[in-house]
């Protein structure tokens, strides 16, 4: 009896191998991971790939999903934006993955968007971004501007009493759009145009002498001044160093950053940064049982107790759990049905709250403001009352305040409330 079953299994295995590869694939659910593992973005995105692998590993140990094991399909788009689209097409058309977790920069997301819409794929995008977008095929688990930038500015205005603003950014789409929203918001709050200074520097800028001297000058007009920084990753280190060297402390002119997290600080001498602010929806230092468990799970998986966790990792944690719940609810991995199942689903986040998928494919997130401590972690100095729902279209930009995204009742990503028209996926 026993030998017979072994024989049958062997036959089945051989048959599976000989006749079709698809037969094996039937037993697993493929999960695509689309993160750069080489090139400039590798520094940030490799961690996210590992996060998803960890989540898949844990899910498989729990018995997989719908009785099947999850199988990761990892591709490397190499920080090359057109390659992102190619690799996305490969994942969706050749590997037939059920879901993709991926992208970091907005330009990579814009690059894969047409592919996901054409092939009806499902993408979980884990990074804070500039908003002004809502696709049927994307779930935005990172923060929209109203979940990060606007609360940070509110904090500085109300709690710190800031009257003068420097909006300092790297020259690309995320800082430019965010600053446009912030400028409109500040003007709405009665800040005079001469009290706002907006500047852009190139990617990887390392000579900040002139800019920091200009900030110092702008900030010495007798009114409390703050810098809202959308400076991209790497360029931050020389920026903060220069601030320190020119003796501008966080107590005089605080800098609030939207792209500086624990991971970025791990490669930095944090002494000159103490007191600088960052706005995120998650900090590693927030002490909750769920977060502690997540951190120790991460350390065990990556086999390095010194690795930090960060906000986009939490977004992937939430995104993965949401997808698992949606698949369980829909009882299939069919993309159309999973997308239909997603809005309204809830899953606990790592900081003691609940992440809920909204009809506009964004989620609810708490907002935290933290001050950098000498050990590279953040000391939370402010948190929002409850979770803030993500708003796809900013209420402060003249072009987008009438636009609404709703994939449940309206079935449209950019519905104009005034003209009552849905103008397709792309908003111009």
């Amino acid at each position: 009896m026993k030998s017979k079953s072994v024989f049958t299994t062997a036959c089945l295995l051989v048959a599976a191998h000989v006749f079709s590869k698809g037969a094996v694939a039937q037993d697993t659910i493929k999960v695509g991971v689309l993160h750069s593992l080489s090139g400039t973005m590798a520094i940030s995105e490799t961690t996210l790939k590992d996060t998803i692998l960890m989540m898949i590993d844990a899910q498989n140990k729990k018995g997989g999903l719908l009785g099947k094991k999850l199988e990761p399909v990892v591709v490397d788009p190499a920080s090359n934006w057109p390659l992102f689209a190619e690799k996305a097409a490969q994942l969706l058309e050749k590997d037939k993955v059920a879901v993709v977790f991926g992208c970091w920069t907005s330009v990579s997301r814009k690059s894969v968007l047409p592919v996901f819409e054409k092939d009806n794929g499902l993408l979980f995008y884990p990074v804070q971004y500039e908003g002004e977008e809502s696709s049927k095929n994307v779930i935005y688990t990172g923060a929209a501007p109203n979940q990060q930038a606007i609360p940070a500015v509110d904090y500085l205005m109300k709690e710190v009493g800031v009257k003068r603003w420097v909006l300092e950014g790297t020259d690309y789409v995320y800082p430019r759009t965010t600053n446009k929203i912030l400028e409109a918001y500040l003007k709405l709050k009665g800040v005079k145009p001469e009290d706002i200074s907006i500047n852009y520097t190139p990617f990887g800028n390392s000579d900040w002498q002139t800019r920091v001297a200009a900030i110092k000058k702008f900030g010495s007009a007798g009114k409390k001044t703050a810098v809202v920084s959308t400076i991209n990753g790497d360029a931050n280190v020389p920026f903060y160093k220069e601030l320190g060297n020119q003796k501008i402390s966080a107590e005089d002119i605080p800098v609030v950053a939207f792209s500086v997290g624990e991971e970025e600080l791990s490669g930095v001498d944090t002494k000159p940064l103490v007191g600088e602010l960052a706005a995120w929806n998650y900090f590693e230092s927030i002490s909750t049982p769920a977060n502690k468990a997540f951190i120790s799970q991460w350390h065990a998986f990556i086999k390095n107790p010194k690795r930090t966790t960060n906000d986009p990792m939490e977004a992937h944690y939430i995104g993965f759990n949401l997808w698992v719940k949606a698949v369980q609810k829909a009882k299939t991995t069919d993309v159309t049905k999973v997308i239909a199942a997603l809005p309204g689903l809830e899953t606990p986040n790592l900081t003691g709250g609940v992440a809920k998928v909204l009809p506009n494919h964004h989620i609810t997130k708490p907002v935290y403001i933290g001050e950098v401590k000498a050990d590279g972690q953040f000391n939370v100095v402010w948190k929002s009352a409850g979770e803030v729902p993500g708003d796809a279209w900013s209420d402060y930009l003249p072009g987008s305040k009438d636009i609404e995204a709703d994939w449940v009742t309206l079935n449209c990503g950019n519905y104009n409330k005034v003209t009552k028209k849905c103008s397709g996926q792309n908003y111009k």
Binding site: T40, I43, N199, Y200, P202, S206, Q209, A214, D269, N379
Partner: protein, 548 residues
């Protein structure tokens, strides 16, 4: 007031409790101090500011130590009995405790048994201000100077009284001058016209932005169109003073821009110098030049890791180490790849580009894609304050000096040593040099090694300015080629002057055009220049240039 009452309510039983404990003989002052300290545990940040205020005014002998500890994140309370302690050095485990009252050692406790009393920016500001009052009594003149500067941020009546008192006993002239400025600023708020005019006269020679802002306030108009300041005499004096301060500030800001330009220029010269040798003298287009700088920067990191207790010296030790490592890599490249490709520039370009990718990926495999943290030694951070309007950052200053030293050394090697003579001979006429018995192959390897070694040394400097990561080289390779082409291929002086002028031109434009446009303008200007003078600023003269 209500809170104070509530505080007093539970203060009394506590006092009674201490009275029956003769072992810890505490004065009532101690008890108040301790209970105020205890409030820090639960208070919100704004309440903490009040508590700090009270602690600093308590006059308790441990006040200063406690406030300093709070500022430096060294104030904790023990979870088991809620007692507040100062911690000797943060970041240890177990933490050694100091009693906040007696300032004597109080044993040690595991770090997870203690909770830190946190601070935020606002609170740290208040703390610094409170500590400034203590700093005024310091025997160190520079501490007193910092204290006075801190106190000038908020000139309330007790502060002014304190400054006036200090003025009488102060001996150091620079501190005295600063106090005089502070007192003059305070005098502006007075009613006596003569005293105010005198204050303006004192302030006229200042170059501080704060003073200028304060004086400019006197010229403001109120919303109804009239002047805020009614005394016309005072207004006129203030207007002259503001104009005079603005003039001197504009002068110093010009000097500052010039220095910014020189420092950017010296970075350009430093990164281009190695290339000026490999590309300029040997004619090899080395696309891996940036990666050799990256190797130098990683060497700095490794040297720092190897000598953790001596960050200050590690940077100096890294210079020869980086030279050797990058130099050896260069020699290896030359011996294994480049020597087979002499005279075929396109293939050299592709091969060295391949080498650059290999170097990048191997660094990524060994050290991970994450940036490495290179610590800036204390002697390189901060700035040299020349006056209120002009301060020069140390790291930039040292890099300007370092560039000039490296340049002088390279010049000496090329002009005054045997190997330098060989290098020049081979670059001028290879066949003739060979006929004279020079081992040209060996000289080629040494030249390439020298150029690569200098790239490594540049990497040490870059590790202080930018991120040490696998992509470090890519950010600088274009700039270094630009400098060499602009300066004139094969001419080190050309690279020096070319790099410096590019730096200054860039920095002069930046305040008007912004960083992005300034870079574009420099590039366009360079293209136009090359159209007019294809061989750069200082074209190589003589026969050598003709057969290239």
């Amino acid at each position: 007031m209500k809170r104070l009452l509530r505080g007093a309510q539970w203060l009394l039983p506590l006092l009674a409790l201490w009275a029956v404990l003769p072992a810890t003989a505490q004065s009532p002052n101690d008890a108040t101090f301790l209970s105020t300290l205890g409030e820090l545990r639960e208070a919100s940040y704004s309440d903490k500011e009040n508590i700090v205020e009270r602690l600093s005014q308590s006059g308790h002998p441990s006040g200063r130590a406690v406030l300093t500890a709070l500022l430096e994140d060294r104030l904790y309370f023990r979870n088991s009995d809620q007692k507040v302690f100062i911690v000797k050095t943060a970041g240890e485990d177990p933490l050694s405790l100091i009693d906040p009252l007696t300032l004597k050692s109080a044993g040690s406790t595991a770090a997870d048994q203690l909770t830190q009393i946190g601070t935020n920016n606002g609170l740290r500001r208040v703390l610094r201000m409170a500590l400034a009052h203590f700093g005024l009594a310091s025997p160190d003149a520079s501490v007193r100077l910092d204290a006075v500067r801190e106190m000038m941020q908020s000139l309330d009546e007790p502060t002014v009284a304190l400054l006036r008192h200090q003025m009488a006993v102060e001996k150091d002239s620079s501190v005295k001058k600063e106090i005089a400025t502070g007192l003059a600023l305070a005098a502006l708020d007075g009613t006596d016209t003569k005293a105010r005019l005198q204050a303006i006269a004192t302030l006229k020679d200042s170059v501080s932005q704060d003073v200028r802002n304060r004086l400019a306030l006197l010229l403001d108009k109120s919303p109804d169109g009239g002047f805020v300041e009614t005394n016309e005499q005072v207004r006129r004096a203030a207007a002259t003073a503001v104009a005079s301060i603005d003039r001197s500030r504009a002068f110093y800001s010009g000097i500052e821009t010039l220095f910014f330009g020189l420092s950017l220029g010296s970075v350009l010269v430093l990164i281009a110098m190695g290339l000026a040798i490999t590309f300029g003298v040997m004619g090899v287009i080395n696309m891996a030049h940036g990666e050799l700088m990256m190797l130098g920067a990683y060497t700095t990191y490794l040297v720092q890791v190897a000598m953790p207790g001596h960050i200050g010296i590690s940077i100096l030790a890294a210079i020869p180490a980086a030279f050797i490592i990058a130099g050896l890599t260069g020699v290896l490249m030359e011996r294994t790849i480049i020597r087979f490709l002499y005279g075929r520039p396109l293939e050299t370009l592709l091969a060295t580009f391949g080498v650059s990718l290999i170097l990048q990926q191997s660094v990524r495999s060994i050290f991970s894609a994450l940036n490495r943290s290179v610590v800036t030694p204390d002697w390189m951070s901060g700035s040299l304050r020349l006056n209120d309007a002009l301060a020069i950052t140390y790291n930039r200053l040292y890099i300007v000096i370092f560039t000039l030293i490296v340049f002088a050394v390279v010049m000496l090697v090329l002009r005054r040593t045997r190997i330098g003579l060989d290098i020049r001979a081979v670059s001028q006429n290879r066949a003739m040099a060979k006929a004279m018995g020079i081992r040209t192959e060996w000289v080629d390897a040494m030249t390439f090694g020298l150029g690569s070694g200098i790239a490594g040394v540049a990497g040490v400097a870059l590790s202080q300015l930018t991120n040490v990561g696998p992509n470090l080289g890519q950010a600088y390779i274009i700039d270094s080629f630009l400098v060499v082409v602009f300066g004139g291929v094969g001419n080190l002086w050309g690279s020096l002057i070319g790099g410096m002028s590019m730096g200054i031109f860039n920095k002069l434009l930046e305040p008007y055009a912004g960083a992005v446009l300034a870079k574009i303008f420099v590039l366009v200007a360079l293209i136009l220049f090359i159209q007019i003078r294809p061989r750069g600023l200082f074209p190589p003269a003589g026969r050598a240039s003709e057969d290239k």
